[in-house]
Each structure stands twice: as C-alpha cells, then as structure tokens.
C-alpha cells in the first residue's frame, strides 16, 4: 500500500491526525459539498425510508420484548445511517459477515424482520437468514467474526471472484485478540474485506476510553498496513461515501479497509441492560441531537427534496412489521429433530441413541398421562 494508490478520502482524513469524514454537520447543513456523493433525490428518499423502517422495526422489537412476547433484543437505535449506507453499497454477490447490531444491512441482504423476530424468539431458523445470499448467521461471540470475514476474503481472492466482504464489530470488540489478528491476516493476504467498527461508545457499560489508549479506533489500521478512516457514523452521506470508496478499493484487488463509524447507541445494549446505571441523561440527550434520521431529514428539507409523509409511512411500516412478528410468533414450534439433525452432516450413532432415549421418555410420559 503506497499513499499514491489510496483513494483521496483515506489520505485527507488521516486517522493519525484524528480527522473525521463528515459531509453534513450535526444540524444537517452540507459542509463538504465537494465530497457529497452524487445521489439521485429518489435514492436519498429511499435511504431515509430504509432508516425509518429500521427505526420503526427496532422500536417495535423493544416493545414486543417489554410485552413479554420476545425473550431479548439488541437495539440498533441511533446507528441506522451506518447500516443503510452499507446496505446500499453491498451487492447481491457480496458477503455479509455480521455481528449482532446491524439489522438494516441484514434486511438489505434479503433477511426479513420475521426471521429477526424468530431469532429473538429463540429459534436458530431466524438468525441464519436462509434466503439472504452470502450472509452468515448472527454472531454473538465478540470479535470472532472478523476472522471469518478474512477467510471468506481469501476464498474470493483465490477464486478470482468480483465480490467484497462486509463485516462489523463494536468498539469493545477491538480489544479482542481476534480483531488484531484478523486485520493482520487481511493485510498480509490483501483480501477484499471492509471491516467496520461501529464505535457506539459503549461495550455494555464500559466506555470506549476504557478499551483503548489509542487516539481513535481507525488508527489501529496503520499497524496492519491497511487503509483506515474515521467517519461520522450518524452522517448518512459520509458513511455512503466511505462504503462506496472502500468497496471500490476492495473490489479492485488492493486489499482490505478499516472504517471506524463514530456513533452512539441511543438504546440499551440488550433489553436486559439499563444504561442509566452507567451514563448520564445529558450525554444521551446530546447524542440524540445528532440522530442520523433527524440530520438526514433536515438536509432533505433544506435541499427541498423532503416529500415523505412520515406519520403515514410509519403507520404502514408498523402494520407490515406487526404482521411479520405475528407470523414469527405462530412459527414458534421447535421439533426435537432440530436439536439434533444440524450438528453433523450425518448424525452419529451417539446422537441417535441420545435422541431415542428422550423419545422413549416422551412415550412413557404420554402413556402415564
């Protein structure tokens, strides 16, 4: 990697100088017209609609959990610009290696809210997103997915395919060994992987300042010889430009890219978490003012392209999402076979024996009444 080969934004927003790519400011004012991606009005409207959909689905998921209808949920609130910008840049043939807080991009890949709900209703058929092409299941074990993305990248390169790999991690995940190992492997192998750190400021209760003494998280790319950039994760246009540039870079065979998306988890870590234990209301309010939806809406209003009837659209989304939830709830059946049959390509005798023993118990129980 030489400086000359690098796309301009990676040179101009050098993480070593702690620069951050931003195109619209916190009030939605266009501050870098020169960097503004050339997007049709319709595309921008579509982006807002998708962010609103994710927001609505997210709020409803939290509400289903609160009603006791779903076991848990990991809210995405406040991080939608990252997911939708990535989703609009990931192609059908590209790979998605998710963590667990990227709902918008999973939907872009063909995942459905029904599957998302099914997952949080406790069913593996949900989290595996059967119809989402080149999409790995939701990964809970922090950081391990970075290696999988690098390995997929090796396959893509080995087979000379025109595919890129998108993968995600949180700020806490950057402390895991797998984070550094994977970036190192990706650097050595020059694989087409776009690594995103969603720096939402907290790993459950631990603030990012307790994770690292680095100037920022993007700067970690420097040690591994791959380009890195810090981006305002609540600025849809900045995220869009970052992904567009990174995807083109990766697909051109030049290797991997690290993007730090600076954002804020407006919701809880999961529905079991209570953020009031570890952060101040004032801080939350400050970040709420940088809400990615509000910023994009203000930009659209200023640019005269705001044509969305938000109330009506939300109502439509709510109906549709509720329908999907009801379907997922109805599918809440879990045959005994599902415990056993997916462990191996051919079920070992030991598993057959264990399954049979349980079935014998069941028939005893049935007879006993």
């Amino acid at each position: 990697m030489t400086q000359e080969d690098l796309p301009a934004i990676f040179r101009d927003f050098n993480p070593l100088e702690d620069k951050m790519l931003q195109i619209i400011d916190r009030e939605g004012n266009l501050i870098r017209k020169d960097l503004m991606p050339e997007l049709e009005d319709e595309t921008i409207i579509e982006a807002y609609r998708q962010m609103l959909y994710e927001r609505t689905a997210d709020e409803m998921a939290v509400s289903y959990q609160r009603q006791g209808r779903m076991y848990t949920f990991t809210p995405n609130l406040g991080q939608e610009a990252i997911h939708i910008a990535a989703g609009m840049n990931i192609r059908h043939e590209d790979w998605l290696v998710p963590s667990f807080r990227e709902m918008g991009i999973l939907l872009s890949k063909g995942g459905t809210m029904k599957e998302m709900f099914l997952f949080y209703l406790g069913n593996e058929w949900g989290g595996s997103f059967q119809q989402a092409h080149h999409t790995l299941p939701i990964s809970i074990s922090i950081g391990t997915q970075f290696h999988h993305a690098t390995g997929v990248g090796y396959s893509v390169k080995y087979r000379k395919k025109d595919e890129a790999v998108f993968t995600f991690i949180g700020d806490g995940g950057t402390s895991e060994g797998d984070f550094s190992e994977a970036l190192n492997f990706a650097g050595v192998w020059q694989v087409p992987v776009i690594f995103t750190i969603q720096n939402n400021q907290y790993a459950i209760s631990v603030p990012v300042q307790k994770q690292t003494n680095s100037l920022n998280l993007a700067v970690k790319s420097v040690a591994f010889g791959i380009p890195g950039i810090k981006v305002d994760g609540n600025d849809f246009f900045a995220m869009y430009l970052a992904y567009k540039t990174a995807a083109a870079y990766a697909r051109s065979g030049r290797g991997a890219v690290l993007i730090e998306a600076l954002t804020y988890r407006l919701g809880a870590h999961t529905t079991s978490d209570d953020p009031s234990k570890y952060r101040e209301k004032e801080e939350e309010q400050l970040w709420a003012m940088s809400d990615p939806l509000i910023r994009l809406k203000r930009y659209m209003q200023d640019a005269g392209i705001w044509s969305i009837n938000e109330k009506q659209l939300r109502e439509e989304y709510r109906e549709e999402i509720d329908r999907q939830f009801t379907e997922a709830e109805k599918e809440k059946s879990y045959p005994l076979d599902d415990v056993f049959v997916h462990m191996y390509s051919d079920m070992p005798d030991e598993l057959r024996r264990q399954k049979k023993a349980y079935e014998q118990f069941l028939s005893w129980k049935e007879k006993r009444g």
Partner: protein, 325 residues
C-alpha cells in the same frame, strides 16, 4: 504398494487430494517453504503453488478462524497447528464457531475444515509439546476427533477427513511419526471415520488404546501371552464419534476392560470408555474396568517424563492385576 512412515502417508493423502480437488488449501505455521516442522507437508507448496499451500502469520486463532471463513465460502481448508499445546489459542474459534456453524446456520453453511496437529509425549520435548488433549476436543459437540496409529490407517483416515463435510480434529501421534514403517497402497483409499479396529482377538481382557499407545500395548501383550493371558486389543481410531458397538462386543466377550492412553486420567476418554462399558456390559464384568493413563499433572519435562509415560511393563502389570482380580 510402498513402505511408508506416518509422515509420508499423511503427506501422500494430502498430495492425492490436492491434486484431485482444487478447493483444498493447506496452511499454518511453517507448512509452506519448510513443509512443516515435522515435514508432513514437505514438497506440497512446490507442487501446488503458494496460493494452495502456504505459511500463515503466527496466530492459531487466526489460522482456524480464517479456515472457517474459507469453508463457508466453498474451500476445504486443511490447517496445521504446530503442536498439541499450541492449539489452545484456537480453542475459542474451534468451539464457538467451527463446531457450531452448521447448527447455527441450520445447514445453510458447513465447516469442512481439517485441523491437524501432532500430539503426545515421549519425544523429550519442551513444555506444551507433549500433551494429549483429545478429551477436550471430543467434549465439543459438532466435531469429529480421530487419531491413527499406523501409516496405513493415517492415509485412509486422512482421505476420509478431507472428504468429510464436518470439521475434523486430526491428531497425529508424533512419537511414531517415523518410528513405524508399513506397506500402504500408493493409490487413493479411504477408511471410515468413527470405526474402531480389533487389532488382535483375545478372550481374557479387552485393552482399548489409540495413537502411540497401540505399539506399547502390543509389547505388553507379548509379555501377557508368555504369562498365558489372552488379550483382545482394540485401536479406537475415532474418539468422537466413539465406536460403542465394538467396545460392547469385545467386553461382553472378555468381561474385562483396560484403557491405555497418555492423557490425564480424570474426565478422559478412559472415563468415557468405562461409562460405556458399564452401560453396555455391566452384567458381563469379571473385574472393575481400569484406566492406565497419565496423571492429573502437567506432563513432566524430559527428565521426569519416565514417571508419566506409560511403558509396556506397566501395561502388562495392569493386565495381570485385572485378570487376577
């Protein structure tokens, strides 16, 4: 037919499959240019190129984690972890992801990964180079764990491992990497994974072992025969799935069972075999089943290893005790 060591036999199996299936890639520490510290992959990089046989950065979690990524996207990676005691940095990836991706994805993705490493003691090595962690891996749902004891078996089992759609932990007894030479076919052949092998028929006691301990057991059996004891020797070959049927048949016949293995005794493959013996042959037993195994201690360095490693005369001593019980 050619006379082969186990090193040569595994190399030959890898060679055959690399030639046959371009989805197979081999990597790990020193496996490329050097051909591995035990030379198991010698010559393969030269023959198949650096994209298919290569040296990776020194990070076991990365080696296994990237292999999973390759496997879900259509490759069949074979990774070498350099020593038994260096598998542990990869343990999280193996347990958390490699063993589970098929179940987690409901069959959308599989993990046809072969993770091979040399294991076991008796080679006067440094710490972390003499361990037998088979029970740790066998305890993980989703893995198959196999251990050959001869060059012939090593080749046939490796071919099967390379054709398996499930992740395989392939443990290679380093002590007999070159110590045993045996005739094996030059052409491709495979042996089923999950099947034990009765090496020798007998009527007084069943001895179950695997890996380098088979040869030690055979020496002990020669002593037993002189003492008029008839021993049935079973090479377990597959730790998981375990061949319950072969154990049942043998122990019901002999009424006695001894496990010989290098690993720590408690919570071991030996413990599992005793459980199976009790479940399958309780009313046939003439003596308590016995574990002749390593202590629940760290494997001592070379000077102390003589106390830990299981010798033929110690196996004979235990055979005699069990038969006279």
């Amino acid at each position: 037919m050619s006379v082969m060591t186990m090193v040569k036999a595994i190399n030959n199996a890898l060679d055959i499959k690399l030639n046959e299936d371009e989805n197979i890639v081999i990597y790990g520490e020193d496996v490329g240019v050097e051909g591995g510290v035990f030379r198991v992959t010698e010559g393969l990089q030269k023959k198949y190129g650096v994209e298919r046989v290569f040296d990776s950065p020194l990070a076991e979690s990365g080696i296994v984690g990237t292999a999973l990524g390759m496997a879900v996207s259509g490759l069949r990676p074979v990774v070498e972890l350099q020593f038994d005691g260096f598998t542990f940095p990869a343990f999280n990836q193996i347990l958390t992801n490699v063993a589970r991706i098929q179940n987690r994805s409901r069959g959308k993705y599989g993990a046809p990964v072969v993770i091979r490493f040399p294991y076991g003691g008796g080679v006067n090595a440094l710490e972390h180079h003499s361990e037998s962690p088979e029970a740790l891996f066998a305890h993980i749902p989703g893995l198959k764990v196999v251990i050959p004891s001869t060059p012939h078996d090593a080749k046939g089992m490796m071919i099967s491992a390379l054709e398996s759609d499930d992740p395989i932990i392939f443990m290679e007894p380093k002590r007999i990497y070159r110590a045993i030479k045996q005739e094996a076919p030059d052409e491709k052949y495979s042996l089923p994974l999950g099947k034990a092998k009765v090496i020798q028929d007998g009527s007084d006691v069943t001895v179950v072992a695997f890996g380098a301990m088979i040869r030690e057991c055979q020496k002990a059996i020669a002593m037993a025969e002189e003492a008029g004891i008839s021993v049935e020797l079973i090479d377990l070959r597959s730790i998981y799935p375990i061949d319950r049927e072969t154990i049942r048949t043998s122990v019901r016949k002999t009424g006695r069972m001894i496990v010989v293995a290098e690993a720590h005794e408690s919570f071991s493959v030996g413990s599992e075999l005793i459980a199976i013996t009790n479940e399958e042959a309780f009313l046939y037993l003439e003596a308590p089943p016995r574990r002749v195994m390593g202590y629940d201690t760290v494997v001592p360095l070379a000077q102390g290893e003589k106390y830990y490693i299981i010798s033929p005369d110690r196996i004979f001593y235990e055979i005699e005790k069990t038969v006279k019980f």
